[in-house]
Each structure stands twice: as structure tokens, then as C-alpha cells.
Amino acid sequence: MLRVAKSFRDGAGFDTMLVAFALGYLVLFSGFPLVYNLVMSFQSVDLFSLASFDRPFVGLDNYYDVLSRPEAWGIFLNTVKFVGISVAAQLAIGFALALFFQQDFPGSTWLRGLFLAGWIMPALVVGAVWSWILAGDFGVLNHLLMSFGLLEDRVFWLSDPDVALYSVIIANIWLGVPFNMILLSVGLAGIPADIYEAAEMDGANGVQRFFTITLPMMRAQLGAVISLGVIFTLQQFDLFAALTQGGPSNASNVFQYWSWQLSFQHYEIGVGSVISVLMILFVILVAAVYVRSTRHEHVA
């Protein structure tokens, strides 16, 4: 008896308990919905059978159904573009700003803090603000561009099928830059200053120092920022709801929004689940990369 109690105080019992808690939490709040979602993707589910168990299995029918729809390929490409461009631009701008604020000029920390204002705003609010900026007939952006003579005619940012997706991307980049900047600033601050001093004494110029010291030392941070960026971008839903609703004609639709539309607007919940299963698979892949890159950090 005493042994068991002791083991709970500091021993294998205590460790097991901690692990059990974490595992239990994971199974209940992550594992169960995941499996439930996976099961639904193989069933014929609608609104009224959602809470019952009377749902016939249909094999891969849902997968075939949704992937053979004419809009599927375009929406897939949009998702790739949305994630690719957003993450690349957020990283580039975020990194540039982090390097800039690393220069320690007066007021740099204060200014850096100001950037976070955009990040803490709810995406739906950001979406509403951007929808005023991007509005076609009376939008702020069109007004500015036209009064500076940069534009002849109004651009219909949200209703022109060639532009709509990029409008959402612009808003999303704006939303994601502060997060990238802060994480990368932390990484930059962690690089010992004497390495730079030594390199400078050896005659390395700024560009050489960036490529031989900064980049390699930032590998772990960059890996983490990229994989988190991909995951956050794949989760981005509110901006689509606020700006274009995936339109016009799916020109700005992406998988995450489509999945919601299928499930909760068209009540094709089985088919909507298929999309989320595909996205989960992809996110697991990205998460693996993230875990690898943080593990790397511990070793270093």
C-alpha cells in the first residue's frame, strides 16, 4: 500500500497518471471527433441522422461523389494557392520585419508591439474591415488607387472571379504577418551576438552573415513557423465567410469553407466529412514536419 502511494508521489505511478490524463484528454477531445468524422465520411448522413446510429455505410461513395464534382479540382487548386501564397508571403514579410526590428532603433519594441494589434483582432472583424476596404463600388482601396491615378477603372476585388481569391489572400497575409514576425524575432534574439562579431572580424559582410549564420541558426524556427502557418491557413474560415463566401462561382472557394458549405448549407454531411478527412490527412503530414523541426531544436 505504502509502495503504491510512494510510487504516486514520485515514481512510475505518478508518470503513468500524468500520461493517462493527457491521453484521456486527447482521446476524448481529439481522437473521438476525428474517428467520428472518419466514420461519417463512409456513411450516408444527413441532418436528421446526425445524432442517431441509423446510418447506412456506403463505402467509398462519398469520396467518389465529392471528388468527381466539376468544382472539386478548381477548389483544390484554390486551396493550394491560398496556402502557398499566404504562407510564403507571411514568412517573407514577417522575417523581413523581424530583421528590421532587430536593428534596435529607438522605439523598435514599441512599434513591434503595435503590429500585434492586427493579430489579436477576431478574424470576423478583420473580415468586415477588409470588406469595406475591398468593396467594389465604394471601397477605400479603389478610391485611393484611383485618386492616385494608379487605376483607370474600379477593380471589383470581391466579385471579379479572377481577383476574388487574391483579395482573401491579401487579407489573410495581413492577418498572419504579426504572428510570423514575433516567432521569428524570438528566434533571432536567441542567436548569440558574439557569433556575428566573430564573423564581422573575419570580414563577412551583411549578406554573407545572413546566409551563413542567421539562416542556419533559424532553421528550427523557420520550420515551426512554416508548419504552423500551413495549419493556421488551412483553418482560415472566417475571412471567407466575411468576404466572398467562396464566390463568385467558387472562384475563391477553398476546401475548409467548402466542407462547411456541404455539411451545413446543403446538409450533405457525409460528403462534407470527406473533405475534412482529406484535410486532416494533410495536416497530420505537416504536423509531423513541425514535430521534427521542434525536436531538432531540443538537440541543438
Binding site: 436528421f48 446526425l50 463566401q245 464566390g247 463568385p248 462561382s249 446543403h266
Partner: protein
């Protein structure tokens, strides 16, 4: 009063209250109204007349109603009475979730199904049963800015009555340098887009089950011309009716296709002579059609108190004449509306109501509607020709209908 008598008096009150509660029937009512609007007002009046019935009113967002009801039904937590949009009646009726009111109506001295306008009545009829009573009705017509008509040299007493006239008027009224569009309507990829499109299709002989028609092609070509030629804003593709009529009220669109629900806002925002006309027809003498909106009061099959619930529906029906004057909906049956606000506009909508036709009804309505929206959007964005887009829509609709 000393302490003892206070205690005695309050325990007496408690006893009275519990006594009253014991034989009081409680009904749960879900609505899309906010406190102070239709269902709340009517429930209060009803409770004042029937102290033995208590109605618990709860507001549910319009977009969430179907989801919340489905969840409520699944968990046994559904209300007794609820309000649903008219295309959803078939969905719920087909799952045996709604009480068939036909036997109650046949016994009723207040509700007579023959008095309800055919469109609203058809929207609550499913396989021979009557599953709801329309709370009111809605439809669309053409609002126009008579001041702009005069400025452009058009006769405000002779609004466009055919599609060609509408197109010519829109052209004459468009002033790009002043940011004024000729026409505002909604082609958004939601139920509202379907709602605006169907009357055009129905006027040319098509309907939700036959969309690959000449008439539908003509409609989409005309709609595309409106947008491509700058007579309507490109944002028509992403704007709902409320927003598009907002541009009319602000004076940046000379005409707007929308419904009577806009009138309260229009009367306060629009600083010009606004009027309404029937929706233009394809050509002189063609069949008329108009959209049918507004929802229905239904009783769920799971209710424990169907008689009291029906009593409340009868009370609502008996007050049908107030829906226009007090609440801004058109009545769903012939009633005497004494001194309507905006008598001319009321006359237009009342006339339009005669041609109002259903969306569906079909239990899979959302999927049919979505196929139609896809055809509208892919044509207007130039991704496919109207013929191809409508053919694709027809294929999808056939799959749902079979």
C-alpha cells in the same frame, strides 16, 4: 405589517402561484423574430386572452433554424411550435416531424384552407397533408426612383413592363461618371439568388425541375448583359437583396428588384419619390410569375399539447390583417387591410402576390437550389455559356428528383 403576516401572505401567494401553474399548459415557440417583433407581440396578446396557456418564446437565427430544429428533434428537445422558411416545410414534413393540420383546419371555425392564397397554401401542403399555416407572404416587385426617371426623360407613370423595356430603361438610367447603376438585384450564391431567379424562369414556362429551357437561357443572357454592360454592379454576384436595395436607397441604383420587407427602411433612408411596379414579363401578354417568400407557423409532431398549439395558430391567423400594417408582411389570405401604408405600393405587391409561385416544394430543396445558383454564377462570371451551365444544373437536379 408585521413579519408574521408578511410570511403568511407570501406563502399564500406561492400556494396560489403553484395552483395556477398546475393546470397551466406550457408551449415552446421558436422564432426568427427578436423581442418586440411579430411572434413576441402575438404571444403576449394570446397569453393575456388565455391565462391558462403559457408560451415560452425563443429567438433562433434564420440561418440556424433548420440545424437547430434537427438537433432539437434528435435530442427530444424540439419546441411545440416553430417558424420555418417555406421551402423547408417539405423537408420536415417528409420526415414525419410536423403535425398534419388538415383535420384541425377542417374542424376550425377560423381557418379555412380555401381562403389561403394558392401559393402560400401549396408551400405548406405535402402529399395531401397541410403542415403549417403561413404567417404572411412575401414576393418581389420592381422598385424605381421616379425622380431619376424624370431626369432621364422616362415617364415615371409608365414603368418598364417587359424585359426589353427594363433593359432600355436600365441603359437610360445608368450614369457611370456619377456612379449610378440602372438596376440593382441579387444574383448571390445563396437561397436569395434562387429566389430572385425563379420568377424569370417561371414566366417563360420553366420551373425548378426544368431549368434547361430557352427562357432560362434568355434570362441569364439578359442578367449577364446587365452586369457586362455596367447597368448593374458586378457586386450583384455577392450581394444579398438587403444590400443591393441599400444601394437603391442611397441613390446609386435607379431601380431595384426586392420585396415589401424593404419598405420600413426605404421610407426612412430613400430621400426621393420611390414607387413600385410588377416584375416585367418576357414580352407583352406573357404569363406572370413572382417569387414567394415568408415562412410558416408549424406544429411539431412531437408536441404534447396539439390542441393548445393549434389554438395559438388560429389566433395568429385571425390577426392576418395586421401583418402588413404592424409588421410589414403581405397577408397570406384575403383580408381587409384598412388604410394600408403606401397604398399604391401595397396594391402592386397585393397584385404581385396573385402570381407568386413556390420554390419546390421538395424535401431536397437545398440541393436543387444550389444547382440553380451554380448555373447563375458560372454564367455571370463567364466560366461557361448559359446553355452549358443550365444543362449541368439540369443533370444535377434530375439526380435529386429521380
Amino acid at each position: 405589517m408585521d413579519l408574521k403576516s408578511v410570511v403568511l401572505a407570501s406563502s399564500g401567494l406561492v400556494a396560489m402561484a403553484t395552483g395556477a401553474l398546475a393546470d397551466q399548459v406550457e408551449l415552446d415557440l421558436w422564432t426568427i423574430d427578436d423581442p418586440g417583433e411579430y411572434h413576441y407581440v402575438m404571444a403576449d396578446e394570446f397569453m393575456a386572452k388565455h391565462p391558462d396557456i403559457k408560451i415560452n418564446v425563443r429567438t433562433v437565427q434564420f440561418e440556424d433554424m433548420v440545424n437547430d430544429l434537427a438537433r432539437g428533434v434528435a435530442t427530444g428537445d424540439a419546441p411545440d411550435i416553430t417558424y420555418i422558411d417555406n421551402p423547408e416545410v417539405a423537408l420536415f414534413a417528409s420526415r414525419d416531424l410536423l403535425l398534419d393540420l388538415r383535420p384541425y383546419i377542417e374542424k376550425s371555425e377560423i381557418v379555412d384552407a380555401d381562403d389561403i392564397f394558392p401559393g402560400p397554401l401549396a408551400s405548406v401542403t405535402y402529399e395531401g397533408g397541410i403542415f403549417g399555416i403561413p404567417r404572411g407572404a412575401n414576393t418581389i416587385a420592381l422598385y424605381y426612383n421616379a425622380d431619376m426617371f424624370r431626369e432621364a426623360g422616362l415617364d415615371p407613370d409608365d414603368p418598364p413592363s417587359t424585359w426589353d423595356e427594363l433593359y432600355e430603361a436600365a441603359k437610360a438610367l445608368t450614369k457611370p461618371q456619377e456612379n449610378v447603376y440602372g438596376l440593382a438585384f441579387s444574383a448571390v450564391a445563396t437561397e436569395e439568388g434562387t429566389f430572385q431567379f425563379l420568377p424569370w424562369l417561371q414566366m417563360t414556362g420553366g420551373d425548378y425541375d426544368t431549368v434547361n429551357t430557352e427562357g432560362a437561357v434568355r434570362t441569364l443572357k439578359l442578367w449577364k448583359a446587365f452586369i457586362d454592360e455596367g447597368l448593374a454592379s458586378p457586386d450583384t454576384l455577392i450581394r444579398g437583396q438587403w444590400d443591393s436595395t441599400g444601394t437603391f436607397n442611397a441613390g446609386t441604383a435607379a431601380m431595384s428588384i426586392s420585396g415589401p420587407w424593404e419598405l420600413p427602411r426605404m421610407s426612412s433612408e430613400a430621400k426621393f419619390d420611390f414607387r413600385a411596379a410588377l416584375l416585367p414579363v418576357p414580352e407583352e401578354g406573357a404569363e406572370r410569375a413572382s417569387a414567394l417568400g415568408e415562412g410558416d407557423n408549424v406544429i411539431l409532431a412531437s408536441t404534447d399539447n396539439p390542441d393548445e398549439a393549434f389554438l395559438f395558430l388560429e389566433f395568429l391567423y385571425a390577426n392576418m390583417d395586421r401583418v402588413w400594417n404592424d409588421f410589414g408582411y403581405l397577408p397570406a389570405s384575403e383580408v381587409e387591410v384598412k388604410d394600408p401604408k403606401y397604398p399604391e405600393i401595397y396594391a402592386v405587391f397585393a397584385e404581385s402576390m396573385k402570381y407568386a409561385r413556390n420554390r419546390g416544394p421538395h424535401p431536397e430543396w437545398p440541393r436543387i437550389s444550389q444547382a440553380i445558383q451554380a448555373a447563375i454564377q458560372s454564367t455571370l462570371t463567364g466560366q461557361s455559356s448559359p446553355e452549358e451551365a443550365l444543362e449541368a444544373a439540369q443533370t444535377r437536379i434530375d439526380k435529386v428528383l429521380k
